[in-house]
Symmetry: D2
Subunit: 160 residues, 4 copies
């Protein structure tokens, strides 16, 4: 369940590139019981699953799926992650994960994230992930022009 | 870190076949923080990860690895799971997962499990998983004789 | 994102009680990349997370949340799980998890599940979970009347 | 299964404090099937579980457990994570997670990590986590002197 945006509400990420203005996508996630830990919070690793789900929504909002990218021969493994946890996230909380591309290179792309906890009203998390493009032999490659064109597409109007 | 056994301490599983007597393997696992939930227990899905780790130990105790089985062209996806949760398992508890084959057919195998919580002294869990053999095209197949021979091997003496 | 039903489409579960007819709830789930394994399928433990998410939807469809039940002093830990995996579930597949109560006792409840893979068109999974009611001291208790009344409520009409 | 060290083999972390020299702890981990994804690699979120397991070993190597710290009223939630993924990690690979404290403040502590993939022989991952101390009411607090004393202890000689 995703909605689109033109500009992120807050802008804590340092690096703000041209690409970012192309549009932010929002993905709504509800915290599962199994994603919490004995402290009562969402366990810190689970945010990376949510970031991944949001990247999927980012693709879909441009009219393609990450699965189609893999089927076209390009995978985007994560090579770097940074996450700042600012506020509590608990069971059943409804989160909105905002995702946008903040930098794109010949063979790598950076996604930035901001998590709004709708239940508490707080921006609880921010982060980024760097990805490199690899081919079916797991060799680093430049984005093929057609894949790059997919990623450069403006947001499409879409329902859920 | 695994040890071998000749007979399981308790025997709650109904179906006890010949194969079972071939030997039980024990795998020690310590519960991770991220495996607990807000109730303070290990979340119920995590036991299936531990069963899988124990199956890996079962193979290793016979002198092969499950990875080698996959590399030899046979995968063993799970087709059925049953688990009974009898006692609490908490963060940092040390568990001993006992695993043995209770039934083996031409193209399927059943593993049985018993989990001893060493920290509480209780048998906390029992369960089974059924697996079918599939080839690289994901078609159901009979166990090739050499793979079946691996599985029929007696336990090897081994250190950790 | 849930929808309600009066009757499950297929009925593979053996035990069909009165309670079942009270209504089936559907929860839609899209498979995350991190939920797959090297075989390319959804790893078998992840279905238990999806069952849990569906139980949350079952409560919500009756006008309460499982969180409210815990806040009212009753937790429902899982004491038994059975799952039959019939068909493949892959990355990005859209699943509909159907959940209903098939049996309810003084101090225990059984949920049944059926997973339709909308992407493949197959009923891929069925299963059940047994839960006992425990209080804040983690002692087994009967359902308090007000909680039992929540669970006996008919389905409410609701949007997403 | 942990071993202790005086100095990390490689030293890619920028910030190297006095505390770091107090000793590095190594925790051995074998990659589970369920920790891989359809790309055949360990999914990027799982490293955070391994970091946590290594932090547990770091405590144990000083003669206390993280559980004891929680029972003494201090929890250490993660407030920041950074991870760099340099090489492939696959099913059944044996990893050595090296962990040390690179900075400790009145009310916060930073752990640094380096992951050696023993199966491939590569240093595959490095990272850090920042934690704040909170009390049972989830308020930020300074480390109580007795807890701080635990953390300042030299490594103890220990078997597994």
């Amino acid at each position: 369940m995703s909605r689109c945006w033109v500009k992120p509400q807050s802008n804590r990420m340092k690096k703000v590139s041209q690409t970012e203005r192309q549009g932010v996508v929002e993905e709504q996630i509800q915290v599962r019981y199994g994603e919490t830990d004995r402290m009562g919070h969402a366990y810190y690793a689970n945010y990376l699953f949510w970031f991944e789900q949001a990247r999927g929504a980012w693709c879909r909002a441009r009219g393609f799926t990450y699965l189609q990218m893999e089927e076209a021969g390009i995978k985007l493994p994560v090579v770097e992650v940074w996450t700042k946890y600012r506020g509590e996230v608990k069971y059943d909380d409804i989160l909105v994960v905002r995702v946008w591309v903040s930098e794109i290179k010949r063979a790598a792309v950076r996604f930035d994230y901001e998590v709004l906890n709708q239940t508490s009203g707080q921006i609880t998390t921010e982060g980024y992930t760097w990805h490199v493009a690899i081919n079916d032999s797991h060799k680093a490659v430049s984005f093929p022009p057609e894949i790059r064109a997919w990623m450069d597409r403006p947001l499409q109007v879409f329902g859920e």
